[in-house]
Amino acid sequence: MFKCKIIDFFFFIFPLKRWRDFLIRHHVEKCSGCQEKLAGVEDVKSFLFQESDVGDMVEIWPVVKEELEEKKSREQRAVKPRLRWAVGLASLFVAAVVVVGLYFTFSPKKGPSMGDLQERFQINYINIENKPAKTYIYHPSDSNMIIVWAEKNI
């Protein structure tokens, strides 16, 4: 009994789960004196609610089933707006593709390229006051522009 009191003292002085478990396994479970200080299975059962005490409880299954069906319908309802959104977005995408396609098909073509310009640009002569003028033609390398500069020939 003295040993039990020491064990009790050490049990309460160190509130460490592992330490307490050690004392329980190595002393309490084997000591009849300590076991007497604990409620037995039958004592505990006598005050706990058991399966037999809840025999006339309400049926859980109908409620659970109702909840499950409600949850399913909620999920289906949640799917419908999602489907509507998906159809809407797909239609928008198709419309955008059609508009872009039409734009590129019917948009006015770009002006002639540099090569075409050079081929088409032709000056035979420039006269200033009925006299041939000094003519300079500038063609900036990074531009589509051609500048013609004519100067009176003195």
Binding site: F47, L48, F49, E51, M57, I60, L68
Partner: protein, 183 residues
């Protein structure tokens, strides 16, 4: 739980996963008594216990795909219920007035048909006050379900040594109450 029972449960779970909702009815009917008893022991109130049970079964059905068929189904269900009951208790604490009422009548069961059950359990009220939800769960699993500390640990998600300490402390408290009552 023996192997046959585990296989039986696994079969039911597989059927449920394949969309056979009626198979879940078998699971509900099989476990509703145990589940309700544990909920009553933790919450001490029939209405809350019924709510917790329904929620637990709903959660179990929704998360059936995450159940490991190598493990015990009842343990898994008890864990879900235990967590639901803790949520209920947390909610109850928020409603101060309601909580006060529960403190006055913690083990009162609603309805005439069940009033005798409260009278059959005169110690429940005083014991519920003394034991924590964890200790009530531990005691139920240990005494009524015959669980070992390892199995209790798997339900409470703690170590077996912690479960053993909970059992010890709860048994000691019960003994004290019983001794006081006898005096």
């Amino acid at each position: 739980m023996n192997r046959t029972e585990r296989m039986d449960n696994n079969q039911l779970v597989k059927s449920c996963l394949q969309g056979e909702e009626e198979e879940f009815r078998k699971i509900v009917n099989k476990y509703r008594g145990k589940i309700m008893a544990l909920a009553l022991n933790i919450l001490g109130n029939r209405e809350d216990a019924e709510d917790a049970c329904q929620d637990a079964f709903m959660l179990a059905y929704s998360n059936l795909s995450s159940f490991d068929t190598q493990k015990s189904f009842s343990n898994w269900l008890f864990t879900i219920l235990y967590n639901r009951c803790l949520d209920q208790l947390r909610k109850r604490r928020r409603f101060f007035k309601f909580f006060k009422k529960m403190e006055k009548e913690p083990a009162q069961l609603s309805g005439n048909r069940t009033s005798n059950q409260t009278e059959d359990k005169p110690l429940v009220r005083s014991l519920l006050k003394r034991l924590s939800p964890k200790e009530r769960t531990t005691l139920f699993l240990w005494a009524v379900e015959g669980y070992t500390s390892g199995e209790i640990a798997s339900v409470l998600k703690c170590s077996p040594s912690t479960a053993r300490v909970h059992i010890f402390k709860a048994r000691k408290k019960v003994k004290n109450v019983l001794e006081k009552k006898n005096v």
